[in-house]
């Protein structure tokens, strides 16, 4: 086995991982950084983010507004002290990115421009046309090349964490090009492996978004927090799940049902607005919009299509071709190539699809998990800013803010800790190697990776949808347990070493099953409705509403080998925003005013 001794190991080359790597390299150039990623960094799924990144920019905005939007948007399940830090750092980090060359869209006088986004009181979303994630990722990747202390392990697939003396001390990875194993030692390990949305069927996520880091930490006894909260995005392409960014609505797009009626006015988001108005109508939060879609479907007011299923229309026609080409060029092209639709002439059929995992590896405000030396950042982490529902454009900023925090913390660790015991670590790494190799070489199984995966995503979609009831959730839990069993009987078509993606996808499937179980069990145990977790059941429909008495709590899922995860609950940190009724549109504005009045 190859051995590499680093000071800081970062797993994941997306926005979060790259930002952390740069933070370490800048604050102590003498530290050796290993940046490990199963794809070349610029392929990471951050690349797909379209809309933009939130950070206070305009004089009429304030940190306080951003704070309240975030906490309210998260249905009060946010760690408020962390949110306070986050909103203050946001503009600093976004400016830093500008200095590194990110081509943010500008106003005519040459300043960075901001656009409105759902659930935000004042527009504060920094954007680079509708390729914000792409530009952020490429800027970070290219900037990272400047630092010689960052050693990249591109197309290395991490299969286990190494733990000794009660702290995390490295990782084991497969070099995909050879199929051979490498042990990478480090005094701290930062997980930045992204989300897990691929446990669902119709999703906006790339094939690599399989929850690896979550499962890695989970198996080492770290809690996965708030896993039941899975965000459905209201405007996705049917079948493929590809995303039409919220910026479509931020720029003034309408959502209409089969009668051409802007149905959102019926769901507490009205009254009707002609121009985009923050927190009204189409600029309501995602959970509400996806739920409205579901209700429209129940009422038979969606458009039924033989192949695409139930859809509503995203109407951009009134914005005109020139404006669309300037502000939403990617969306324009996607509609043209993938659907054969000219969005300046026709409305785009859309439906809700899985988009984001609010939960993840539980970490404190300094991004460290309960396993010392193990950090988590980005979508794989739950640092506490998204609560029960993430606001669009907060997560790209999260990558930067907490990437920097974790990098700085990892530097402190690396500077103060002695090197680990290589011999012990190597033994562990070799055991991991044997375990993972066995999956490839074993014969006689009858199950295919693709079959189990297909059944898993179907079951998750049924059991953890926009609206949930105990019955299907239980069926989902049972199904996942069954699939866990069947996974043991898997057989690979490819038993070679070089670039064996059959093998890697089996390992991913193993991760996915763990993460899916954490989601399913967290969901069934939360007998209330909050943010993205909406139930329709309970005695007299008791679970349809928020229950702050019993569930103003984070859920923690713990790994139990060979069995369903154990779910426990932890407190939510509240500093200055006690839970209120979560309202938008005119009602929201009124509540805002009342709050202001009571504060003076």
């Amino acid at each position: 086995m190859e051995i590499y001794k680093a000071d800081v190991v970062i797993v994941g080359g997306g926005g979060a991982g790259l930002r952390a790597a740069i933070a370490v390299a800048e604050s102590d150039p003498s530290l050796k950084i290993a940046l490990v990623s199963k794809v070349y960094p610029m392929r990471s799924h951050t690349v797909a983010a379209e809309g933009g990144a939130a950070g206070v920019k305009r004089p009429d905005d304030s940190f306080d507004y951003h704070f309240h939007d975030t906490v309210g948007g998260g249905d009060w399940l946010c760690e408020q002290d962390v949110v306070e830090y986050f909103v203050k750092q946001a503009p600093v980090e976004l400016t830093q990115l500008e200095h590194w060359g990110c081509p943010w869209s500008r106003t005519a006088d040459g300043h960075v421009n901001v656009r409105p986004f759902g659930g935000m009181k004042i527009q504060r979303t920094w954007f680079a046309a509708d390729k914000s994630g792409f530009h952020i990722l490429h800027t970070l990747f290219q900037t990272s090349i400047k630092y010689p202390s960052i050693k990249r392990f591109d197309e290395y697939f991490v299969v286990d964490l190494l733990e000794d003396e009660g702290r995390c001390q490295g990782v084991v990875a497969i070099e995909m090009a050879t199929g051979e194993f490498t042990m990478i030692e480090g005094k701290s390990v930062i997980l930045a492996t992204g989300g897990a949305g691929r446990v669902f069927r119709e999703s906006t996520l790339g094939g690599i978004v399989t929850g690896d880091g979550m499962a890695l930490a989970f198996r080492h006894g770290v809690a996965l927090r708030d896993m039941e909260f899975v965000q459905y995005h209201p405007t996705c392409m049917p079948i493929t799940g590809l995303l039409f960014t919220e910026a479509c609505r931020g720029e003034g797009g309408y959502l209409v049902n089969k009668d051409g009626y802007r149905y959102l006015q019926d769901y507490g988001l009205g009254p009707l607005q002609d121009k985009p108005k923050n927190k009204y109508m189409e600029l309501g939060p995602r959970d509400r919009l996806s739920q409205a879609f579901w209700y429209e479907q129940q009422k038979g007011r969606t458009i039924e299509h033989p192949v695409m299923g139930s859809v509503v229309h995203l109407d951009l026609r009134h914005l005109g071709e020139a404006y669309l080409r300037e502000r939403l060029p990617l969306i324009y092209e996607m509609a043209e190539t993938f659907m054969g639709i000219d969005p300046a002439k026709e409305p785009i059929p859309v439906r809700a699809g899985v988009h984001y995992t609010m939960g993840g590896v539980r970490v404190a405000g300094n991004c460290e998990s309960s396993l010392p030396g193990l950090f988590a950042i980005g979508e794989c982490a739950s640092v506490g800013i998204h609560g029960a529902n993430r606001l669009g454009s907060n997560s790209l900023t999260e990558l930067l803010v907490f990437g920097k925090v974790a990098g700085d913390e990892a530097v402190k660790k690396a500077q103060s800790l002695p090197p680990g015991n290589s011999a012990t670590l190597l033994k562990q790494a070799q055991a991991a190697e044997q375990r993972v190799l066995a999956l490839k070489t074993k014969t006689g199984g009858t199950e295919r990776v693709a079959t189990i995966r297909k059944e898993m995503v179907k079951s998750m979609e049924d059991g953890c949808g926009i609206f949930r009831v105990a019955e299907t959730m239980q069926a989902n839990c049972d199904k996942l347990a069954e699939l866990r069993e069947r996974f043991k009987n898997i057989n690979l078509d490819d038993k070679t070493s070089v670039w064996n993606t059959d093998w890697l996808s089996a390992i991913e499937l193993d991760y996915q099953l763990d993460v899916a179980q954490a989601m399913a069990h967290s969901a069934i145990n939360r007998t209330e409705s909050r943010g993205a977790h909406q139930r329709l059941d309970g005695p007299d429909g008791a679970y349809k509403v928020r229950d702050d008495v019993n569930f103003l709590k984070h859920s923690d899922a713990f790994y139990v080998p060979g069995s369903a995860p154990r779910i426990t609950y932890g407190d939510v940190k509240i500093t200055k925003s006690p839970p209120e009724v979560r309202v938008y549109g005119a009602a929201g504005e009124k509540a805002d005013q009342e709050r202001k009045a009571s504060h003076v």
């Binding site: 590194w100 090349i145 094939g207 192949v307 695409m308 054969g340």
Partner: protein
């Protein structure tokens, strides 16, 4: 800012459901058992909304799990899924099976790169080239974060924005015969990225990057074939970046005799 889309859109609009069968011929290569690549043909049922990538995924999921290819985003932005489709470098996620039916479609790993396995090529050379061009802002006038953002007028912005759209898909390398003939040639996408930084008003690194531009691996390997720009899915026009830098490098070459410091060594 986006240049007009040349791509064809479908007349028949929404995907229809009837299933048809298309033959997909894939160039396979298993380094551990094959001496050289060989073709295999698969019969794949498809619907009109299916991309070539989905066709290949279908083969992997249903016929042969050992078929190997890169992919991720499915939306033409991550740059992983490039293949030669009927001899033309394309992103397989935004090419559609219906456009080839009823003919057989042939798929091969991107040209001009060594094949690692099946449709996966060795990109390490390309990555080294990207790293070599110093693809980061070398500040012209350093600025602190407290001073806020740099101001960039629409004119300044329009100078470089087009060259920022490169997704590193390497289709242009597969399209450029000079890359095939001389693998050391720095190539179109890397030059486009270099040009992107040179043209950015925040950057002052043009002179530092000249050494590479003007070197034997640099721009003069290009003979203006132009196919790189033709196949670029993001309208980056990398060929223009290469050719404009021939002019820059020539200026530098002759002017270095005049100026005391000169350009590159």
């Amino acid at each position: 800012m986006a240049p007009p889309v040349k791509r064809q859109t479908r007349k028949g609009k929404h995907p229809m459901s009837e299933q048809k069968i298309i033959e997909i011929e894939v160039l396979r290569y298993k380094p551990e058992s094959d001496q050289a690549p060989h073709s295999e043909v698969y019969k794949v049922p498809f619907t009109d909304d299916m991309s070539v990538l989905q066709g290949v995924q279908y083969i992997k999921d249903n016929f042969d799990g050992s078929l190997t290819f890169r992919w991720s985003c499915r939306m033409a932005i991550c740059g992983s899924c490039g293949m030669m489709i009927n001899g033309i470098p394309k992103l397989s996620c935004e090419s559609f099976l219906r456009d080839y039916y009823p003919n057989r479609i042939t798929i091969e790993a991107l040209a001009n790169f060594p094949i690692e396995k099946d449709l996966v090529v060795d990109l390490s050379g390309f990555i080294e080239k990207l790293e070599a061009i110093q693809p980061y802002i070398i500040p012209k006038e350093p600025r602190t974060l407290e001073q806020g953002e740099y101001i960039q007028t629409p004119e300044q912005f329009s100078q470089y924005i087009q060259f920022t759209s490169c997704i590193n898909c390497t289709l242009c390398y597969a399209a450029c015969p000079q890359v095939g003939l001389n693998p050391d040639f720095i190539g179109p996408a890397a030059m486009a990225l270099l040009h992107r930084y040179n043209m950015d008003s925040r950057d002052g690194g043009q002179a530092q990057r000249m050494e590479l531009v003007a070197s034997e691996e640099g721009v003069y390997n290009c003979s203006a074939v132009g196919y790189c720009s033709e196949v670029c899915p993001k309208h980056v026009d990398p060929g223009n970046a290469v050719n404009v830098n021939k002019i820059n490098a020539a200026k530098d070459y002759f002017l270095r005799f005049l100026s005391p410091k000169g350009g590159a060594q």
